[in-house]
Amino acid sequence: MIKKIAASIAEALSDIHDGATILIGGFGTAGIPGELIEGLIEQGARDLTVVNNNAGNGDTGLAALLNAGRVRKMICSFPRQTDSQVFDALYRSGKIELELVPQGNLAERLRAAGAGIGGFFTPTGYGTSLAEGKETRVIGGKPYVLEYPLHGDVALIKAERGDRWGNLTFRKTARNFGPVMATAAKRTVASVYEIVELGDIDPEIVVTPGIFVHRIVRIPRVATQAAGFRMAGRP
């Protein structure tokens, strides 16, 4: 019998090893699996490579993981935000490595990892410093850069609803990197706000089929908080 529902976050994250590559869903705060990141901090794995679109907001979640000194390297598209002070300080003091990837190449490299593609020619970044040293090729008169898949050991993602086979749906733009990262990691752990009976998710609307998900954990619903931008009229 398939039982992907974990009794606790600690149980779901128990086997993450030092040096692992962790794919963390979310764009800004939408879809950031804050509870799972807190669990990862408690779990204690270190020397991690973390893949996320950003590099943490404020001092909780990913920022707290960075602040705890657990991350050796960030792979992301947009580390600098109005409230990315934790990353900024680590970066400026040389305590963290940064691999900057254009956002679409980041998504496509994850997709390639999940889809068994060995490499792909992308037009994004051609002729820029982010393609320096990379193989290029003109195909059909258009220049491309060769990019490689980005595999994770573990993906931590935030979904909306799940069942014991691991099928998932997401909520609005909190979907973002979640479904792609789920395909790209050896193990995917998803937090959900609701666990439903098998068959209660219409098979036509499953976003991430359970084959890509290894553990799901129910968490209490908390509204996603604003972050990463300056509110009009506020400092």
Binding site: A30, S77, Q81, P102, P123, Y126, V180, A227
Partner: protein, 214 residues
Amino acid sequence: MSWRKRTKEELAQRVARDIHDGAYVNLGIGMPTLVANHLPADLEIVLHTENGLIGMGPAPAAGEEDYDLINAGKQPVTILRGGAFFHHADSFAMMRGGHIDICVLGAFQVSACGDLANWHTGEKAAIPAVGGAMDLAIGAKQTWVMIEALTKRGESKLVERCTYPLTGVHCVERVYTDIATFECTPRGLELVDIVEGLTHAELERLVGLPIRAH
């Protein structure tokens, strides 16, 4: 004859005027966002945001914000009837695959032949952050830039050759500025329009580049 610069709102209006009915449009972070306020009400223009939404609506009323429903600038938005959500690989496939008609971006510099520099000033101390800028620059059917023509120190953002790190090569079709609108072509800048009272000669002096009539 006296002339004055377009205000930001006038510039946004100028850009909006060129967007056709039914267009799929991505408005970059910053000034391009203003364009949304000036889209003609009698047209249906569909806004895409890279973080997985097409059919984006205006900002919600105060107190109605849902931070699971945000734009690329992480600001709360709404979704129109007819909109759809999708994941990041699908969203960037949409952009990279040439399905977006128009993308409007800010810039530090644009070269006469359409090179774009808008993600990094190249300062050593700056923490680099590119986001979706490079994908947007090369993905849309047309990439438009919306900028004030001159920096605060009076230097032209339209240049012979970008000195800031590039975002994309030969990717900008049009540059809408507060003093004139240009097309970038392999033979250099072409004038599309100019604010009332500003002469062609004076414009060339301000921009520091030859500008051909359209």
